[in-house]
């Protein structure tokens, strides 16, 4: 036997990789989408850097100006710059959509964890409730909540969030089923880990990738839902700018000022799509 004790050497290229995962190379679409998301995030932090117009008070002489270099999105019936209103409106929309994601993520993950780890009774109750929620369109669930607790950004965010519990619960459960079959979870039990240690040490960290990826795409869906409900008048009262509300205000002037609905609507669409692209990348990057 000529074998020595030394284990197989590690190839040199593996030595450099200290990171958990080397990030996959992003495509052109991902880079563009990320740029859009970064820009919108910057609107959130410092809207004044991106526009010199005031979102609330307009110039009475500048009503219904079509898109131009000075007003890229045109102006509305009160002479306000529409792009400025969209930029300032980001805060409201993103806050409400963010609240929706947090509500959905927390409640959905909890339902998923409880129903897939606490035995058959918890599973039956949790998953049948989720199945029942699936039967209701999430938009309608949000409407119910807003209708019973009054309009405003907080009820709106919670309502939209409750509508997305189903998604998070289902994904959490699927991930837990997958991870539980892994031997490292059983090895953890053999190592003496209890329920919480297994849950927070192995199960949730390994499910996190899928959940974060879902949260990003759900944020896009929430922006759409918040805007839609804002359009219907369940969100922030005017004149505070909010994306859905801006589109709603343009509705009355569809015939003579197409830009008032079309351009804000397009921007919402672009943000939702870019979030979808970013979500796909996040999903890929968090896979181990």
């Amino acid at each position: 036997m000529v074998l020595e004790q030394s284990p197989t050497p590690i190839p040199a290229n593996r030595r450099t990789g200290r990171r958990l995962t080397r990030l996959p190379v992003p495509g052109v679409a991902t880079v563009l989408a990320a740029l859009v998301v970064v820009m919108v995030a910057a609107w959130l932090v410092a809207p004044a850097l991106f526009t010199s117009y005031d979102p609330i008070t307009g110039e009475s002489g500048d009503t219904f100006l079509p898109p131009s270099f000075a007003h890229p999105f045109g102006t509305d019936h009160l002479g306000r710059d529409l792009l400025a209103r969209m930029i300032y409106g980001t805060t409201q929309t993103a806050f409400t959509a963010g609240l929706a994601v947090v509500v959905g993520l927390l409640l959905g993950t909890t339902v998923g964890v409880v129903s897939s780890t606490l035995g058959p009774v918890a599973e039956a109750i949790g998953m049948r409730t989720v199945d029942a929620l699936i039967a209701l369109p999430s938009f309608m669930v949000a409407l119910f909540v807003v209708a019973s607790y009054g309009a405003g950004p907080v009820p709106l965010g919670i309502g939209v969030g409750i509508g997305s519990i189903v998604l998070f619960a289902r994904v959490t459960r699927a991930e837990i089923q997958r991870i539980r079959g892994r031997e490292y979870v059983e090895a953890s039990l053999l190592s003496g880990s209890g329920y919480w240690r297994q849950l927070f040490g192995h199960v949730l960290p390994n499910a996190a990738g899928a959940l974060i990826s879902l949260a990003v795409i759900d944020f896009g869906a929430a922006v759409l839902a918040v805007s839609s409900l804002g359009y219907l008048g369940f969100g922030t009262p005017p004149p505070t700018p909010e994306w859905g509300l801006i589109v709603a205000e343009g509705r009355n002037y569809l015939a003579n000022a197409w830009w008032m609905t079309t351009l804000p609507g397009t921007l919402i669409l672009v943000v939702v799509i870019t979030l979808g692209i970013v979500s796909r990348y996040v999903g890929k990057a968090t896979r181990v």
Binding site: M1, V2, L3, Q5, S6, P7, T8, I10, R14, G17, R18, L20, T21, P24, V25, R182, E183, Y184, E186, A187, S188, L189, L190, S191, G192, S193, G194, R197, G201, H202, P205, N206, V288
Partner: protein, 551 residues
């Protein structure tokens, strides 16, 4: 070579072949400058570890390379027809009669929604024969008879899930030979099967290849199996052909140290003297252990383990051997207290632990630990090695922060891992290193029994050899007892002092390793031992007598 040009072209001629894979913008070389030929009727084995490129080569020969592969140099010629850059359409005309494939996993290679009869009938369509219903049926039954399939007429109306792995492989062999290809590529055709089934399948394969005068490229990781059946062997390592010689020459005069290593490993498993057992008090006793699984609807309850009794002496290795479905893993899980036994007792250090449940099992797990077959799924990919090895220490509250860190270093040292592995993650380690991490974790709580559940089966032979040595050293240093669960008798022989052979839930025979291997009493154990590959050239007594008969 050039003087004696055979009149028929070689069944396969590979010349300077190089294949790369494209993966996330980079090119990884899989096969580099490989050249060899297979003459008509020749049985050639292609031996290599996982990652050596043998499957890539088999894929190239059958035109089944994945889409991200590039043949960047060399030529491939099948029976005089150049096929290096053939379109898929042209390939599909060649496959079947020029080249056939017997795949690795018979379970995944038959269509689950079609009957066996329908899948065999595809042969006649490929051959362009228009047959009537009765004619087709008769011919199909003939084919199954050739492949020694029992009750062939009934099989035609059965679905794949109703058949055992061995039967499925026989049917695939029948289909492959039914098209009578001039070259047959068999890609690890028996690696998913038990040893006794492997033996039957291989002798069938030998007979059919001989009768049909087919050339065979037999891809395997098992040198012993290769030398039993092939006349010539190619050894592939890291994409390069390191050896191409008749089997006998290969065994006697290996040219590279790598081949020598492979041979010495294969030899060692044939002839290693069983370690001598010494008399020590039993550490773990298993008495009348039984497990009955609840009945599926309309079926009888399954008795997976039926009255198993054996004991595990301290500081020694007891092997639990059996084919798939023999109940060995269920027995191990009961011993680990992961599965509730239906009846029987598990006595550790004189204390009955059978009644202990829930968190009280912690005390049991401080003494009894486990190493899994597949280190890839047994280590959390997000954890560092240091955290993985420290998990039992943290979870069981052994020691404080500093002593744990020291203990982890000590353990990594003991399993011969460099100390900087502590901050690495499993994905940065090789398969053998990962298994070392798993072994280190199992020893962390100073356990006295480690259950090794097929712990070497997922590793390459050379790595297996090193881990085997490590296990022996750890046993001497720490006095740990192993319960070594395996289907591979040749490895059991090298590591165990005691052997318990299980067959359909019962103990077929147990005794010291020498007793089991030298004087097996039950016919089943005799059959198991006879099925260990490597009889032809590697086993000293047999090859000696063979040399005599040749002389």
């Amino acid at each position: 070579m050039s003087e004696l040009r055979p009149t028929p072209p070689p069944a396969l001629d590979v010349n300077g072949l190089g294949i790369d894979y494209r993966a996330s913008g980079r090119r990884v070389s899989a096969v580099t400058e490989v050249s060899f030929t297979i003459a008509p009727g020749e049985f050639v084995a292609l031996v290599g570890e996982s990652g050596s490129g043998k499957t890539t080569l088999a894929g190239a020969v059958t035109g089944l390379l994945p889409g991200n592969s590039i043949i960047h140099s060399g030529t491939l010629t099948l029976g005089g027809v150049e096929v290096t850059s053939l379109s898929e359409k042209k390939w599909s005309r060649l496959r079947g009669h020029k080249v056939g494939l017997i795949p690795q996993d018979p379970g995944a290679s038959l269509n689950p929604v079609l009957t066996i009869g329908a899948q065999i009938a595809e042969i006649f369509a490929i051959r362009g024969e228009r047959l009537g219903r009765t004619e087709r049926r008769i011919r199909s039954i003939e084919l199954l008879q050739i492949a020694e399939v029992s009750r062939p007429a009934d099989r035609l109306s059965q679905y794949p899930h109703e058949l055992s792995g061995g039967l499925k492989q026989r049917i695939l062999i029948a289909i492959a030979f039914g098209l009578n290809p001039s070259l047959l590529v068999a890609d690890e055709p028996t690696s998913a099967l038990d040893v006794t089934v492997q033996k039957q399948i291989m002798s069938l394969f030998d007979r059919l290849a001989h009768e049909h005068d087919s050339s065979v490229l037999f891809v395997t990781h098992d040198l012993a199996l290769a030398t039993d059946h092939a006349s010539r062997a190619l050894v592939l390592r890291a994409g390069r052909l390191v050896e191409d010689a008749p089997v006998e020459d290969l065994i006697r005069f290996p040219r590279t140290s790598y081949t020598r290593e492979l041979i010495s490993h294969a030899r060692a498993t044939q002839t290693a003297p069983a370690a001598t057992p010494s008399d020590t008090a039993p550490l773990l006793q298993v008495r009348n252990l039984s497990k009955q699984f609840a009945a599926r609807r309309g079926a009888d309850p399954v008795l997976a383990v039926d009255g198993v009794t054996f004991s595990l002496p301290a500081g020694q290795t007891t092997a639990l051997v059996g084919e798939s479905g023999s109940g060995k893993s269920t027995a191990a899980r009961m011993i680990l207290r992961l599965t509730e036994p239906t009846a029987g007792e598990i006595i550790l250090n004189g204390r009955d632990t059978t009644q202990v449940t829930g968190r009280d099992r912690l005390a049991h797990w401080r003494a009894v630990q486990m190493v899994y077959q597949n280190p890839d799924s047994a280590l959390d990919p997000r954890w560092t090695v240091g955290r993985i090895v420290a998990e039992p220490l943290n979870a069981m509250g052994i020691g404080d922060r500093n002593s744990r860190r020291a203990r982890v270093q000590e353990l990594l040292n003991a399993v011969s891992l460099p100390s900087d592995t502590i901050d690495r993650r499993p994905s940065e380690l090789s398969g053998g290193q990962r298994q070392r991490v798993a072994i280190a974790r199992s020893l962390a709580p100073s356990s006295s029994v480690v259950v090794l559940d097929e712990a070497l089966s997922a590793l390459d032979v050379i790595t297996q050899e090193r881990v085997l040595e490590l296990l022996g050293r750890l046993q001497r240093d720490f006095g740990v007892a192993y319960l070594f669960i395996s289907h591979d008798l040749s490895i059991v022989r090298r590591i165990a002092q005691h052997v318990v052979v299980m067959q359909s839930g019962r103990v077929a025979e147990q005794g010291t390793t020498a007793e089991i291997f030298d004087t097996p009493r039950s016919p089943y154990v005799r059959e198991l031992i006879a099925a260990i590959p490597g009889r032809r050239w590697l086993h000293d007594d047999v090859s000696a007598s063979r040399k005599d008969s040749i002389a």
